[in-house]
Amino acid sequence: METVQETIRPPVHEKVQEPVITIRHLYKSFGANKVLADFSLELKKGENVAVLGKSGSGKSVLIKCIIGLLKPDSGEINVLGQPVANLDHDELDRIRVKVGFLFQSNALYDSMTVRENLEFPMRRHWIKMTPGESSDRVMETLKNVGLAHTVDMMPVELSGGMRKRIALARTLILNPDIMLYDEPTTGLDPITGKEISKLMMEVGEKYNTSSLIISHDMNCIRATADRIVMLIDGKCYADGSYEELKRNNDPKVKQFFE
């Protein structure tokens, strides 16, 4: 049985890069429900890592700890060299500008148009721009996700796949260094799922991001990730490339590849 826990492998493309996210010995529980127990992970610059796990295994909890929406019980989370759990509000904001977070539920603001949704993070992070510039930026980002025509629509008027793209555009508009995707293809049909995966790849190249992709959709993971981390029983149970894990004979790992 080959489970790799604390030894973190070098990335698939053997470049020695500094890590952008480092997680060590992370614990998080809700009451008696131990969700994360001794989870460790490293994401290097330019790398795309997928976190694979069953529903309810704590994937969303993990990603929310990284962005500082949830406080871990113990353990260390470093994002771009900053210890997220110990930062005050302003310091956290400075990190969050550089980290894009695509919510599992999209979390588009229902009461705002697509344009206002995209402008919201820009305005909020004090990015100084004239109205013309910010409008250009909105249009350019929308074009990148192929939805320039929806700029004046309300989120309720869009389909699920379109909403996912708009949510992606909203996180990209700040040119993040790191992208965190929480189940980007769940709830979409396979074709739309493929399109979103493709878009994520394009985005990664175009904006030169490192990304952490949380999913249980193998097709999406195969298309987008260089390395897979398996989150089982609250810890990093195994990691490696798709092919490596597929050859793994551990029953808990195997069930994901059937």
Binding site: I67, F101, S105, L108, D110
Partner: protein, 256 residues
């Protein structure tokens, strides 16, 4: 010492709500100020409830006048009708009825709106977009409710009195000037200002409860419905409790 479960959850809830209110005072007056959102909310909160409050105010004034007349005739003081109605409306009925309608309309809509933003993770999305959602959503709405309810009460009082004027004219005739002269002669400053002061507290309570319920909504659509519902129940109850307290306090202070 074990308290019964219902008491325990009541006390928990009261504690949570007090902490939430404490957070409002701790964060609400520090920069950065969400001024444009505050103005926007004032417009929404004030404007949305205006037709309903105007209509109910009008009916209240009219009906109250028609109901009071027979008794006043019995006592032979029919001429005091405008004074009676004026005092009743300005001191008690206007503020309380308007606040209750406000609780039903605005309390539930704030509860449902924040509740659905909570369960669809929009509040978390704001947080990661560099916005303090507590300031952007809660502080603005609470302040807007606090400022707008007194305005609505004054408008509602005026419309009620107009309704009452029409009510008087159903069975008798009085001129507009005479009616309002009688009303204002009967009212003194100490009738008006405690009534206005308490409306600020009513507005604050409605805004605060609506936000608290929405902000702490449980997952799922059922949670949103329950937030909206209990926002109305709790804030209506608080309106009466605050009314009771304010009457006692002004009585003790000798302003009545």
């Amino acid at each position: 010492m074990a308290l019964p479960k219902t008491w325990q959850s009541f006390l928990d809830e009261t504690g949570d709500m007090s902490r939430f209110t404490g957070r409002f005072f701790a964060q609400g007056f520090k920069p950065r100020y969400e001024f444009s959102e505050f103005i926007h909310q004032c417009f929404i909160i004030g404007f949305k409830s205006l037709p309903l409050i105007g209509l109910t105010g009008f009916i209240m004034g009219l009906v109250l006048t028609m109901q009071l007349r027979p008794s006043l005739i019995d006592y032979g003081v029919e001429s005091q009708l405008p004074a009676m109605v004026g005092i009743a409306i300005v001191r008690e009925i206007g503020p309380v009825v308007t606040a209750l309608i406000f609780a039903g309309k605005i309390g539930s809509s704030i509860g449902a709106e924040l509740g659905s933003m909570k369960v669809t993770e929009q509040i978390d999305a704001m947080e990661v977009s560099g916005t303090n959602p507590f300031k952007y959503l809660v502080v603005t709405r609470v302040l807007a409710a606090t400022v707008m309810l007194p305005v609505l009460v004054i408008l509602s009082d005026a419309i009620s009195l107009y309704g009452s004027y029409l009510g008087v004219n159903i069975r008798a005739t009085t001129s507009f000037q005479l009616f309002f002269k009688q009303v204002f002669d009967a009212l003194s400053f100490s009738d008006v200002w405690p009534a206005v002061i308490k409306t600020f507290f009513f507005g604050f309570a409605v805004g605060m409860v609506g936000c608290y319920k929405g902000y702490n909504s449980r997952k799922g659509t059922e949670g949103v419905g329950r937030s909206a519902n209990s926002a109305v129940v709790v804030s209506s109850l608080l309106v009466f409790i605050i009314d009771l307290v304010v009457v006692q306090v002004t009585d003790l202070l000798g302003i009545n």
